[in-house]
Symmetry: C5
Subunit: 304 residues, 5 copies
């Protein structure tokens, strides 16, 4: 156990030894073990966007075993996926990489301006599959967000009692938020705060833009001159908004970007005090060797 990991765990003082152990396993696995940084492989796009849009660019990804192998080979801290994908490989790859069971999912065969993500797995499933954590998506801003908040609350309580860590995907979305607003710095910071207040151990948000969405917030950002010009500044503000660094915040880039940009984003995350990256489509949608190369390059940034 490195000092840095101990220091991070210290922010979670009060959690049970079981939860602390799960957090320690996440922080002590793979290439970034012990650094306090994380690179996680998430693969829930099969449900979210459909199989062809997700896996046709690199058909190896249709096979659930592929993603376990990719996460292991690249030295990721963890692999996160819905029930089916984990069930199809958890026995074969038992103990080789920490697993995060994504407990809810949305699909695009029906779309709603105020979306809800539906529970598709349980805490008992996570335990049965040997996971270290549960994952759950909330859509702050959706009219249906109360449904997700109540379910997350209940699952979080159950997970903590079972010694599992809780990872919250906090994605603002809804009829009162503009498309641009979904990644606005005020909205992303707000989403991080909500996840933290709900008891999340790890928080995943999108990299924020410099846009300010809410009028009431804009006044404060301007009055207090909160620095949000560079990506690193914005990362810093989000980390600050999640209990001033006392909660692990990791970032996703979202859509497809080129490798130079991804590495630049990783450097901004690092410089802004972020805890790491969650890299889905930019890893499993390219040939395995390329994906491993990119993931290691990202890890090098964090080790740097």
């Amino acid at each position: 156990m490195t000092d840095r990991v101990r220091q991070i765990l210290d922010s979670y003082a009060g959690e049970s030894p079981g939860v602390l152990t799960s957090l320690a396993r996440l922080l002590s696995h793979g290439t970034l073990a012990g650094t306090g940084k994380l690179v996680i492989l998430p693969v829930d796009q099969g449900v979210e966007h459909g199989p062809a849009r997700s896996f046709a660019p690199n058909p190896a990804g249709y096979d659930p075993h592929y993603h376990f192998q990719l996460a292991i080979e690249a030295g990721c801290n963890a692999y996160a996926a819905p029930l089916g994908f984990l069930e199809a490989g958890a026995a074969r790859f038992a103990g080789e990489v920490p697993l995060i069971l994504k407990l809810n999912n949305n699909n695009s065969l029906y779309s709603d301006d105020d979306p809800v993500s539906v529970q598709t797995g349980s805490v008992d499933d996570a335990l049965r599959l040997g996971c270290v954590a549960i994952g759950y998506t909330i859509y702050p801003g959706s009219e249906q967000s109360p449904v997700m908040y109540e379910q997350l609350r209940s699952l979080t309580e159950e997970a903590k009692q079972a010694g599992l860590a809780v990872v919250v995907w906090s994605y603002p979305r809804g009829s009162q938020i503009s498309a641009k607003g979904e990644t606005a710095i005020d909205v992303v910071a707000y989403a991080a705060q909500i996840a933290a207040q709900m008891g999340a151990h790890l928080i995943k948000v999108k990299l924020p833009s410099a846009h300010l969405e809410q009028d009431a917030a804009r006044k404060v950002y301007e009055a207090q001159k909160i620095p949000i010009e560079t990506l690193a500044e914005r990362v810093r503000h989000v980390v600050q908004s999640a209990f001033d660094g006392r909660r692990i915040v990791i970032f996703s880039g979202g859509g497809k970007v080129d490798d130079a940009q991804i590495l630049e984003q990783a450097r901004a995350i690092r410089d802004g005090g972020g805890f790491g990256s969650i890299i889905g489509r930019n890893s499993f949608q390219r040939p395995r060797a390329d994906a491993v190369k990119l993931l290691r390059a990202i890890m090098d940034v964090y080790k740097g």
Copy 2:
């Protein structure tokens, strides 16, 4: 136990011995025992379409015993039906054919553009009746799909704990999907993926057409040149979309077609790597001898 069955069960490594036993029983019964292929007799049309539309063409089918006898005589791998039909014969035909209790049903006395299928049986009912599996229908694309996803999730967890297999009928339907889109290749593949991600052991979908429904999907199918011209190619793509062959996918033809077409469909399913057929109206709506003859001809295709 044949090698092929062992190979298939290997894809379900991690499931409990109870679940593996149920899957093995399905794969080791009837004419196709041990081949890794399945022909299943489903009879839920009495509820779905009403008794006269279902059974008047062959009035023997009003009697619940008839379908047990048909499935046994034809050597089907299993017989699937709602609670009432199974209750009315499970004692009389105990142990003669594996049973699948269909846990939800829809009827056509009320129709909704965004339909829901309602729970009409339980896991305890399935155990009480000696079943090897539960069956459950989801309508991906329906505004009410969250209700079914949550119920399927919960029933799946309960079934697995009881050592039962889980068969999911995945039928896209809803206000955002066109009639043609319900069997579009992109939509059917998506439906198979959703069922697999939700933890289904067997997935039943309709035979897909070459139509592409969703714009975002069409771009990928065209860019990646996914072969979907022949039925066998489309079957192959659906099987690939259900964890690249690691999940059993079976197909129904839907409406009434002539026997030549049915056998041609079976050959396409076989050639595309599908695991078999589920044949309802095309079997029980004709005289018993004819039905047995057709079912055996289909099985011959799969044994071929």
Copy 3:
């Protein structure tokens, strides 16, 4: 135990000895004991239509004891009523007549084109009151039918575990069904099938008219030349639609008709293979002696 009763119980093979005992008690009580036919007295109109509309024509009926006495004196197989009416006499008349606790009720102080019937009693209440069965109304065709189906499913499971029989009132009603359609032969047969598939032991439907409501059904009735001209033919078709005689189907006449008509209906039910009548308003809304006389005349038809 007569052969006929044994024969009927044989259709319920697989049910627990407790359930079989309850069915046997229904079939072995009163004037029609052992004949395989039933005449049941139902009194839920107090809730459904209000007290004055129900009981003012024969004010003795305001008193809950009256209906116990009427059912006993007339030799009915059973008396069915909501919680309050049974609670008010079950101790006083304990063991004198089999009781059916009607577990849900609707009232006419609020009316909805897509109605729901609300639970007003429980399986535990039925046990506490010494009942042999629960009764439950579904409105197939109502937009709210899923609420009733799910509740019936759950109560049926609980009742069977407790050794109680399950009687389902299956009354098509809803915004997509015309007034005439509520008693159309295709719709009534469909309603009987739904109740049977949901696991009902006894099914109560209205006497069907020769009207055909659904286009898809009409084509089949015409193509298959299903005989529905006489009432006896229609009764036969409904009984066939409820598992070809393997489920007990009884009929109500609905509104007020004259005695000659009631007896004619009973003869049609008998000739069509129906299992009996449920006679509410036509019995308790007339003086007791008249009611007993009519009920016995009906029983004579069935004994004939």
Copy 4:
């Protein structure tokens, strides 16, 4: 135990000794002990109408102790109130007056044409506070009435298992009932029947007017010449509608009226066979001495 109380309890034969004991305590307390008549003090107006509208006319009523003292001093059979009011005095006045915990309440900060009354206490609360009964309001006629019926059903079952009596406030209200119709004789009689059928031991309704609200009912009232001209006749009809006198029915006068009218109403209740009065605003909104005087005058009518 007087003969009259034994006679009333006889109507509840079949209830557990615990419930009979609770009913006996209600009937054997205060000035009217043993007479079979009841005068109950209800104070839920603080929630229903707000504190100032309820208590400003006699500010002593802001204090929860006041109502206990008033009920005790006046010799009421029981005091009924929501959770907070009972919690604030149940220890101080333990054993001095039977208590009824009102388990649901509505307030006037939000009003709905189809109102619902919300649960604010539990059966366990009633037991903890030493109550003899629970109270519950239903609004027959409201689109939301199913919510209340289901909750009442469940609470009634739980209360009876705990040996508590069940008092139902049955107040017709909803978008399909006119303001005048809320106290129409047909509607009030119907509301009493519904409460009785749901298993209520005591039923509280408003004093009915001679108005007839529902067309279907009016025909019967006219055809059968049901006498509803005088208040005593209407009381008699309501009592008849609640199981012909086998259920305790008590009446409230509603709004503020002068003392002569209140006493006249009491005489009509007595003459019509009603079981007593529930007097809220007309008692606690006047000085204590006046209230005690009025309540005793009412009791004198019933003792007469």
Copy 5:
């Protein structure tokens, strides 16, 4: 234990020793220990308004430890916050200040004219974190208030069984209440009454204005000449409306005001018989030394 504390606890006679102990701890901690007065630090604005609007004015407040330290240094009776904030410091500051876990929260990424506050913590969480009380917000007047009332009822029952005190934030809000009406004296008094009737031990309301919102109430205020001109008079009326002083009522000033005003408000609360203040934004949004100074000045008013 001072006489004043004993006197207050006497109003809660009937509560369990566990609840009385929790109340005693609240009343016996900090600068105002034993005086019967309370100053509480609440920090739920991070969720309610977002992190920047809450903490940017004094960035130390992003850190959850800060608020513990502020409450301890200033000698507050308690610190109230949502799950995340308490989890992040409860171990580090165990036993140093009584904690109130705020069990529900609303955020401003979605706003509704009839808002609901969503459960984000549980009674078990409160016990796990060593809290003395739960906190819960209701919005009387919201169409969604029934959801909150039912949840509060259930949580209150559970909390009392666990020996925790119950603090209710009662904030009228909804489509039938004007913006001005949310702090109208009639509406605030009504909100206090509702909280008291629901079983709250401590009630938090906003300082009321002299505005009268509801017509039915205005008539009574005018007829009865209820004094509401000065703030102290209005405080007195609200305290009277919460069981005439038998329930602890504390007040928040709401938006930002200058220090002179805050102290003047405190004097009015004291003079009107209020039990204290809950000071959020006016304390944690200024530098720590200033905040401590202000809080102590407020406490001096109450000690005075």
